[in-house]
């Protein structure tokens, strides 16, 4: 193996793998470790996810859940047709989700393509200052999102560009082709290298979210292995999907990733974040995710540093539900912005 870190040449972010797998971090060792992970009981997983989805969350609990969901949203626009103006209106909505009700919390972050980062940072203004109350992060997708089909150097400069422009978080995609053909070392190296590219001039790192694109990984076993691989390589967050492939985030997939995060926490005491993205459009669905998080890894995880929703249309539905709770009568799409 050419590039996988060994004990002597390991790049700093690979230190987790060195600790868990041992000093001799070869592709073979990595493969043996990942393939030694117990398989997923698919039927049990889906049944567990379905049963978590049946909780009835009403009145004050629902009001709490709705505000919590808003504060966990990465408000996203990832279209080829994005313009600086579109990003500015996205930011305006992130700052004031509901102009009729200023008690509505702000979202956690806005998520845009790398070239839109400067526009997002500029539009956020003081809300992007490090010490701002109700600070909103800027997340950028990088590494030839969504396919990830580009050379290593292109991916790295894509990442470094976004970080230099002020992105606080980088959403990278893994090389699914390499992962599915069993070349775990390649995927591992890439995550390590991207993590290194997230380093800022002052030595701190932008948060790295690793997108597994679970819709292309086919099996729960693969999802579990990819989750371990991403955490071992230094990911701060593991994220289900790009939102460009169906199926995107599903509850069983997110549950299986949360289980990996729980196991990692038990093993090392370290807390890794999870971000389901794509396909979560209703408050009802989002509440199921909150229940799943609280029941799997604990309520500690229900904070923006450890759990996010990647969503665009979800926010409007949450706002409609919020308006229903406040006014007592049903609201309609004419009472929220058209995104």
């Amino acid at each position: 193996m050419e590039t996988t870190a060994t004990g002597s040449t390991a790049i700093a972010p690979a230190s987790r793998a060195l600790e868990v797998i041992g000093g001799d971090l070869t592709e073979k060792a990595l493969k043996r470790y990942l393939e030694g992970i117990a398989g997923v009981d698919a039927v049990g997983l889906e049944a567990r996810a379905a049963s978590l989805g049946t909780r009835s969350i009403k009145t004050t609990s629902k009001a709490w859940a709705l505000d919590k969901i808003i504060s966990l949203i990465d408000l996203t626009t990832l279209e080829g047709a994005d313009t600086p103006g579109k990003v500015r209106s996205l930011v305006a909505k992130a700052l004031v989700p509901d102009a009729d009700d200023l008690s509505t919390p702000r979202v956690a972050a806005v998520c845009v393509y790398g070239d839109m980062v400067p526009h997002a940072v500029e539009a956020l203004g003081r809300a992007h200052d490090a010490d701002a109350a109700g600070r909103i992060n800027v997340a950028a997708v990088a590494t030839a999102f969504p396919s990830g089909r580009a050379s290593r150097s292109v991916k790295l400069s894509d990442t470094a560009d976004a970080v230099a422009a002020g992105a606080d978080e980088i959403d990278m995609v893994i090389d699914r082709g390499a992962f599915l053909s069993g070349r775990y070392g390649l995927v591992f190296d890439e995550i390590v290298a991207v993590k290194e590219a997230c380093r800022r001039a002052d030595g701190s790192y932008a948060h790295l979210k690793v997108i597994l694109e679970t819709g292309e990984l086919n099996t729960y076993d693969n999802i579990r292995r990819a989750s371990w691989l991403s955490i071992l390589a230094g990911g701060d967050f593991i994220k289900t999907s790009t939102g460009k492939v169906a199926p995107a985030a599903t509850l069983p997939v997110t549950l299986s990733m949360l289980e990996v995060v729980r196991d990692w926490h038990r093993l090392t005491g370290e807390k890794i974040g999870v971000k389901p993205a794509g396909g979560i459009r209703t408050s009802k669905d989002a509440i199921k995710y909150l229940v799943t998080v609280a029941e799997t890894v604990g309520e500690d995880w229900l904070q923006p540093d450890l759990f996010r929703f990647g969503a665009s249309s979800l926010l409007n539905d949450v706002l409609l539900q919020r308006q229903k709770l406040t006014s007592g009568s049903y609201s309609g799409p004419a009472y929220v912005t058209i995104d």
């Binding site: 308006q323 009568s329 049903y330 309609g332 004419a334």
Partner: protein, 292 residues
């Protein structure tokens, strides 16, 4: 062959978004039927809840752009198709009306026939009402100034609650559909069967899913939720004379809905172009006569 074949009684369900669904609340209520009539078994109908009404409004909103976007000529053909399909099922509707209203078979059949004819009458208006209600306005300038009626959007309807359960239903619903509105309708509480079965006719008449959504149950329970729903554009209180309909009007005013008051007597909701044009908004455009 044994003569005592076991019948297959129908489950009367709601019609929401092109699907026949039970109430989300799981409730049903017993529909009073004439003893010894054509329907031998006890009949239950789904008892719609506020959440069924909410789902119905969502379905209706989703169907507005498609239904309003079809040409008047095309809408007329679809409405005429309802009459065609209903005509092929006259016997079933006559049975249901006779059983739940306690009228004679002849009276029930006559009511079905009148309902069929009424669909045809309103179908004819679909590509004509714009010419009647629209106008070329005289203005002092080199412009054409044209006003045309356009559908209001989602209309909530409380169908007549008295005798004539099918005819009253059609009188309330058909005119709203002509211009391209979509409808959420609460049927006759005591005699909902004909309206619920009409859902089957609509589902097989090229009426797009969500254009007509039929709820059975208590208008007193459901109507306030529709009156206050911000995504409902107009409210037809045709059959609301026994409800607190002034209160419903006040609630509806909060979101600037168009509201038609209740009507009583045999002529309630009688065929009229006014019932078509009431649920429209006037759009006026200016256009230059020419550039010289």
């Amino acid at each position: 062959m044994s003569a005592a074949r076991l019948g297959v009684p129908k489950t009367y369900k709601l019609y929401i978004g092109g699907k026949f669904v039970r109430s989300e609340s799981g409730r049903v209520y017993e529909v009073p039927t004439k003893k010894g009539g054509p329907l031998l078994n006890t009949v239950n109908a789904a008892k719609g809840s506020r959440k069924d009404a909410r789902d119905a409004v969502t379905a209706a909103r989703g169907a507005v752009s498609g239904w309003a976007g079809t040409s008047g000529y095309n809408r007329g053909q679809v409405l005429y198709r309802i009459a065609e399909v209903l005509d092929g099922r006259r016997a079933q509707f006559a049975d249901e009306i006779a059983a739940s209203e306690g009228v004679s078979a002849a009276a029930a059949t006559a009511q079905v026939d009148e309902a069929i004819d009424l669909w045809v009458w309103y179908a004819g208006w679909a590509d004509k009402y714009v010419q009647v209600a629209g106008n070329a306005n005289p203005v002092s300038g080199p412009y054409f100034n044209l006003s045309t009626p356009e559908p209001t959007g989602v209309v909530a309807v409380i169908a007549p609650q008295g005798a004539g359960s099918l005819l009253g239903f059609v009188r309330a619903v058909a005119p709203v559909l002509v211009s391209g509105n979509t409808v959420v309708v609460i049927g006759n509480e005591r005699a909902p069967l004909a309206a619920l079965s009409l859902g089957e006719v609509l589902a097989t008449s090229d009426v797009p899913a969500g254009v007509v959504n039929i709820l059975s149950g208590s208008p007193a329970e459901i109507a306030p939720w529709l009156a206050s729903h911000a995504d409902v554009n107009a409210l037809d209180l045709l059959g609301a004379e026994h409800l607190d309909w002034v209160d419903l009007q006040i609630t509806a005013a909060e979101t600037l809905k168009r509201v038609l008051p209740p009507e009583t007597g045999p002529d309630a909701g009688a065929p009229s172009i006014d019932r078509i044009t009431f649920f429209t908004e006037t759009k006026t455009v200016w256009h230059t006569k020419g550039l010289i």
